[in-house]
C-alpha cells in the first residue's frame, strides 16, 4: 500500500510509464499510415498558408524567409483535454513568429487518457495519503518522453513531407530547421537544411542534412564520411566504392547506382525512392535500426527501398533487419548470410557463400 509519492513512483509509476511508452510507440507504428496522412495533410495546409503569407508580405514590401519552423507542444492544452501543437515560423531577424498555426493531436488521448486514469486510481493507496494533484505532478516528465518519441516519428514523416514537395513553395533560409518540443523550451530538430557542400571538397565541413542535386560520383572512392540525414536528388554513382559511409536517415530520390560497392556502410533509416541499382554490392552493411553502433539517444527505422529498379545486385553479410521493400527483387538480387529479421527480405532464399 502506498503511503508516499516516492514509494508510489518506484513501486508502480515507473513501470506504468515504460508500458505507456511501449504502447505509444506501438500505437504510432500500427496507426502510422493513418496518423501520418493526417499529419501530412495538416502540415501541407500550414505550409501552403505560410507560402501565401510570404507572398502577401512581399507585396507589402516585407521580405521574410523561413529560418525556423517550431512545433511546440502546449502542455496547457493537454491540461484542458485538447492537446495541440503550436506551429510558429520565424525569420532570421525577428523575435516574433511571422505565422502561427495549430496542429490538433487529440488522437494521442487514446493512449494518454487510459494511462492517466490508471495512474490516478486510488487502489493500493492508503486513502489519507492519496493526492491526485501530487500524482499529476509526475505527468510532465512522462509527457516529455512521449514528446521525444513523437519527434522521432515526425522526423520520418518530415521526410515524406519533403518528398511530397511540402516545402517547395516556401522561401526557406540557406540554413533551416524544423523542430518539435516544448513551448519556449527544448526543441528537437526533425528536418534540417545545411549549406551545400561538395562531398569530395568539403574540407571537414559537415555534410549532415545537406542536399545534393544532380551530382555525379565516379571512380573516386568515398570513405569514412558522415552524410546522416543528407538528401540526394537525381544523383549518379558509377563504378565507385563507398566505404564506411554513414547514410543513416539519408534520402535518395531518383538516384542511379551502377557498379557501386557499399562496404561497412550504415543504412539505418535510409530511404531509396525511385532509384536504380545495377551490379551493386552491399558488403557488411548495417541497416538494423537497433544496431549497437547507433546513438542510444535516437530511435531509428529500418532501411527502405520503394519503387526501385534492381539488376544483378548482391547483399553479402548485411544486417537488413526491419528493412522495408516495396519491390519484387527475387530474380535480381542475391542474399548471402544476411540478417533479415522482421524485414521484407524474410521471404527470400539466401545463398550460403559468395564465391565472387
Amino acid at each position: 500500500m502506498f503511503s508516499s509519492l516516492d514509494e508510489y513512483e518506484k513501486e508502480y509509476y515507473a513501470a506504468a510509464e515504460v508500458k505507456l511508452l511501449q504502447d505509444f510507440n506501438h500505437w504510432l507504428g500500427v496507426n502510422e499510415e493513418e496518423s501520418k496522412i493526417k499529419w501530412l495533410a495538416a502540415m501541407e495546409d500550414i505550409l501552403h498558408k505560410a507560402a501565401q503569407a510570404q507572398t502577401k508580405l512581399k507585396e507589402e514590401g516585407q521580405c521574410v524567409n523561413c529560418r525556423y519552423l517550431q512545433c511546440s507542444f502546449l502542455y496547457v492544452s493537454l491540461y484542458q483535454d485538447k492537446p495541440v501543437f503550436q506551429v510558429e515560423l520565424y525569420d532570421e531577424q525577428q523575435q516574433e513568429p511571422w505565422l502561427m498555426s495549430w496542429l490538433d493531436t487529440s488522437d494521442m488521448l487514446a493512449i494518454w487518457k487510459p494511462f492517466t486514469e490508471k495512474a490516478l486510481a486510488k487502489n493500493n493507496w492508503i486513502s489519507r495519503y492519496y493526492s491526485a494533484a501530487a500524482i499529476c505532478s509526475l505527468f510532465p516528465q512522462t509527457m516529455e518522453k512521449v514528446l521525444y518519441l513523437l519527434s522521432r516519428h515526425w522526423h520520418y514523416w518530415a521526410g515524406d513531407l519533403v518528398l511530397r514537395g511540402g516545402f517547395h513553395d516556401l522561401r526557406l533560409s540557406a540554413q533551416f530547421q524544423m523542430m518539435v518540443g516544448q513551448y519556449r523550451g527544448w526543441q528537437e530538430p526533425i528536418y534540417t537544411i545545411n549549406p551545400s557542400q561538395d562531398i569530395y571538397l568539403h574540407g571537414g565541413k559537415s555534410l549532415i542534412a545537406t542536399d545534393f542535386y544532380r551530382a555525379v560520383y565516379r571512380a573516386k572512392p568515398i570513405c569514412h564520411e558522415d552524410v546522416t540525414e543528407a538528401r540526394f536528388w537525381d544523383c549518379k554513382w558509377e563504378a565507385i566504392q563507398l566505404q564506411d559511409v554513414n547514410f543513416a536517415d539519408a534520402i535518395f530520390v531518383k538516384c542511379r547506382f551502377y557498379q557501386v560497392d557499399f562496404t561497412d556502410c550504415c543504412l539505418a533509416g535510409a530511404r531509396f525512392t525511385d532509384c536504380k541499382f545495377v551490379g551493386c554490392n552491399f558488403q557488411s552493411c548495417d541497416g538494423n535500426p537497433e544496431s549497437d553502433k547507433l546513438p542510444d539517444t535516437k530511435i531509428y527505422k529500418g532501411v527502405g527501398w520503394q519503387d526501385c529498379h534492381w539488376e544483378n545486385c548482391i547483399f553479402d553479410h548485411c544486417d537488413l533487419s526491419h528493412a522495408r521493400l516495396s519491390d519484387d527483387i527475387e530474380d535480381y538480387v542475391t542474399l548471402y548470410c544476411c540478417q533479415v529479421e522482421s524485414s521484407d527480405f524474410q521471404h527470400m532464399g539466401q545463398e550460403a557463400v559468395n564465391d565472387d
Partner: protein, 177 residues
Amino acid sequence: MIEPWYLLGQDKTLHHVIQATELEQSKYPAIMSGKHFIQMEDAVTHYEMKEPLYQPDFLFDPTFMVEDSMYKIWQELQPDILGKAVQFFEANNRENAPMPLYWVPFLPSEEDALHDQTKIELGRAVEPVLRREKLAEKNFLHITLAGGQLWFASLTAVEAMLWKGQTGVQITSVEIR
C-alpha cells in the same frame, strides 16, 4: 503578438497542505496591497507536522505564496517581480522535518488591465476579461480588487509552471479583448 493568458486559482482538491502557524492576517492579508508588502519583512514561521503533509508550489493561506524553486522560475520570466521570504520550520524541531522556503510575490496592482466588460460582483471579478494592450512584455499580472486578488500568467509562464509539475493552482483561460 499577445499570447493567451490564464488565471491562477487555488486548487481546492489539495488536502493536508502545510500551514503557517504564525503569519498574522493583518500583516499577510489575502489581498496583498503595496502598503502591506512594503511593511512586510522576510519572516520565519512554524508549521505543525502532520501525516501526510503536502508542500505544494503555491499556497493561498493566509496569503498567496510561491515555493522557492517555482519563484525562481517566476523571477526569470519577469525580473521585476518582488518577493518577501517566508521560511517554514517544523514546530517541534523534529529531525529530518522539511524546511520549505516560500515567497510572497508582489507586482503593483493593475486594475486597469481588466476590460470594461469584466463582470464584477461584490468586489470580485466573476469572469475576468483582460485588455490586450496591457499585456505586452509581461508574463505575470497582479490585480487587487475589493473582494479579492487575482494573479494571471501568460502562456509562456503557464507552460513553464506546468512542465515543472506545478501543484497548488488551477489554471483557467481568460478572454482577452
